[in-house]
Symmetry: C2
Subunit: 182 residues, 2 copies
């Protein structure tokens, strides 16, 4: 079980774009499996995003609460947004933090990259911790309606542990930030 | 900033199914925003899934390595799978663990639910820690080609911290399992 395993692969025969939206694209692909049989794969293409956990010098973090169409409800989450074309992740993190909370940050610490849904979606999310916050004006997109929520990091950590914050990027950022916050 | 915020909402005017696949569906929705303006939302519908971190009495965990079409590469991740219609999450966890690793588990501990991509996809993932493992035969789906990898939990934790394991469900399970493993 612990010996080097064979390399798994699929050969793409062709792919058809089924949908091209503002947020994602969908492709359906004919593939050849490693046993020589044919199969069909469905892929969501997403440009990737950034998520930022902002923490102030008193140990308070700042979250946003907004309506999310896929759950038809409000969701509590850390500030986040899609990568613009050609934008690098740390730039996007600084921009989204400013847009959604008004904060500028002296320090942006990378908490790493992760892939939220490897089974069918190409999205990569880059996580950051933002420190040295200075308040300023927000700049929401024209179809964004967002409330900002302040709470102690310790409270958010407890809420992530006991299931009160289902958003995945928020949970992961909270756990990965732990070593920088004590 | 810390006062109770207004409730955000969108009113669904209508929705059209754009794609219906084996793994997900896509809908495009006309909505009325809270400021009275119209907008369009794109939603991926997914039936949800389970992910299981199996750990043996020596502190070793078991992962799977498989080709993932959205990244056109192999991905290292904990055993996981889609919820079948009408199946409850702990049953699915026991089934997927058996199918992908061959293990039966005496104990299945819930590590909570999370939503991997709240911005556009309805998927909910239920995380579990599996203990008291007994080896047995695997039962892969006909288009699944999977290698099983064994390593100490401490090594996987280190790999999640330093960016060597980009899969989101694996990272989150590893961090959330920490309190049960020491």
């Amino acid at each position: 079980m612990n010996t080097p395993a064979p390399k798994h692969f699929e050969t793409i025969i062709n792919e058809k774009e089924i949908f091209k939206g503002r947020v994602f694209r969908v492709g359906v692909r004919d593939v050849l499996l490693e046993n020589g049989e044919k199969s069909v794969r469905e892929v969501v293409y997403h440009n990737g995003g950034v998520s930022i956990l902002p923490i102030d010098s008193d140990g308070n973090v700042y979250l946003v609460r907004q309506y999310r169409c896929a759950f038809d409800s409000e969701v509590l989450e850390i500030p986040a947004g899609k990568l613009e074309k050609g934008e690098n992740p740390p730039e996007a993190a600084i921009r989204e933090l400013k847009e959604e909370t008004g904060f500028s940050a002296e320090e942006i610490i990378s908490l790493g990259e992760y892939w939220p849904t490897v089974g069918y979606c190409s999205e990569r999310i880059y996580l950051y911790l933002a420190k040295g916050l200075t308040a300023g004006d927000t700049h929401f997109d024209s179809d964004e309606f967002i409330s900002c929520i302040k709470m102690p990091y310790t409270q958010l950590l407890e809420m992530c542990r006991n299931g009160q914050v289902p958003d995945g990027k928020t949970q992961l950022a909270v756990f990965k930030a732990m070593e920088y916050i004590k």
